[in-house]
Symmetry: C2
Subunit: 217 residues, 2 copies
DNA sequence: ACCTGAACACCGTTCAAGT
DNA sequence: ACCTGAACACCGTTCAAGT
């Protein structure tokens, strides 16, 4: 459902309704069920996720496992940021469609030549993937892309700051006060946090692998 | 809103409606807005999140930074699993309430004695936290706690397996076929994946810290 | 000025009436 | 047997009527 995806990209997941899509397609609400071959609205979300999953597959995968995982992580993050509504479905819809499988095959291929236990291999891929998902959820949350339904982003940010400043001044929070940790992060901060953490995770994975068994330099 | 939290725990976030809560409280729908001091339903979710955020705060924080981060990560995971609906809000509602601030203060305290750049410190905390959120989203997704609205979990699992088996057999996915990677993971697998990845991440963070500056042994 | 019930503008989905 | 429009059982929120 290309139209559903672009609708969600533009107006958020809340705007995606059977009736709205029907109107956009100049069809009747009930026609959507037969047209998209779905029984419930949730299956529409599955289709949307599979559609954007196609964007996850890289044209070429670096030979070196670490570079490959790095490239996969960056791509996943950019796709999730491009389709921020995906985060709202992250606990509900497993990657099960055809494109999801292609993506899974590629992630497995990234560690294909590494000679380790299969469970460990899967654990490494899951660790990187879940890290990226978590970081992106944080980024989307912080950028407040999905907040400004009633008020603008600026208004929301202002309300948050003054509310929190009052809370912090009322209580005893030395670490927060020192760090000014409740300042909303900038996009640059979020990029930097993401890259730093990814490197730490990959470094940890690297030490868990016997260097002799890897294909990389 | 204790009643809203327990309702979400029992029946999922979808069941949480202004009208349903009003009925449970033997009140009129519109009374909820003044009773909970909210202007929009989204603010009810903020209140729910702050309520369960109280469970994040540990009674005692280990002195050693690595043990402290480990304990914080385990607690966050268990709270998120106990209130699985939280994942559905993960991209929408920043932790801004009073209890969220107490939690933030404690996480900052975990690295309080470590002598490093403040931004780096924040990056480490964000890395651990987002990793836990991502892993927990994966776990909730896999356990399918939120799926069984129409069909039971078993039916859903079966449908998923046969659908995917067909897809995999039709295409050319050597790595998936070899690993049987699309088998749904067991709870034990998910626990193991979580712990392994957390150790890798903490190991990576550890190497980024000059060992001499840490307080641990 | 405050409260509140009816009303409005939406939902997803059922189901019976029509072909 | 299939399609489809009306209807049902919900939503969040507005707003005017009542106090």
């Amino acid at each position: 459902m290309t139209s559903a995806v672009s609708l969600a990209d533009r107006e958020g997941l809340r705007a995606v309704s059977i009736r709205r899509i029907a109107t956009d397609l100049a069809a009747r609400p009930m026609s959507i069920y037969s047209f998209a071959a779905i029984e419930h609205k949730d299956e529409l979300f599955d289709l949307m996720i599979d559609e954007v999953s196609a964007e996850l597959v890289l044209p070429e995968l670096p030979q070196n496992w670490r570079e490959a995982l790095h490239a996969i992580a960056l791509r996943l993050r950019s796709v999730l940021l491009r389709h921020a509504w995906w985060i709202d479905l992250i606990g509900r819809n497993v990657l099960i469609g055809p494109n999801g499988i292609r993506y899974r095959e590629q992630t497995l291929a990234a560690l294909g030549d590494v000679q380790i236990d299969d469970t460990l291999k899967l654990a490494m891929l899951v660790a990187v993937e879940t890290y990226v998902v978590g970081q992106t959820a944080f980024a989307i949350d912080e950028q407040g892309a999905t907040h400004g339904e009633g008020r603008t982003h600026e208004q929301w940010q202002l309300a948050r700051e003054s509310y929190q400043r009052a809370l912090i001044e009322a209580g005893n929070f030395p670490h927060i006060a020192r760090l000014e940790a409740f300042q909303p992060t900038s996009p640059e901060d979020r990029d930097r946090f993401f890259t730093l953490g990814l490197e730490w995770l990959l470094a940890g994975i690297s030490t868990a692998l016997d260097p002799a068994t890897t294909t990389g330099p």
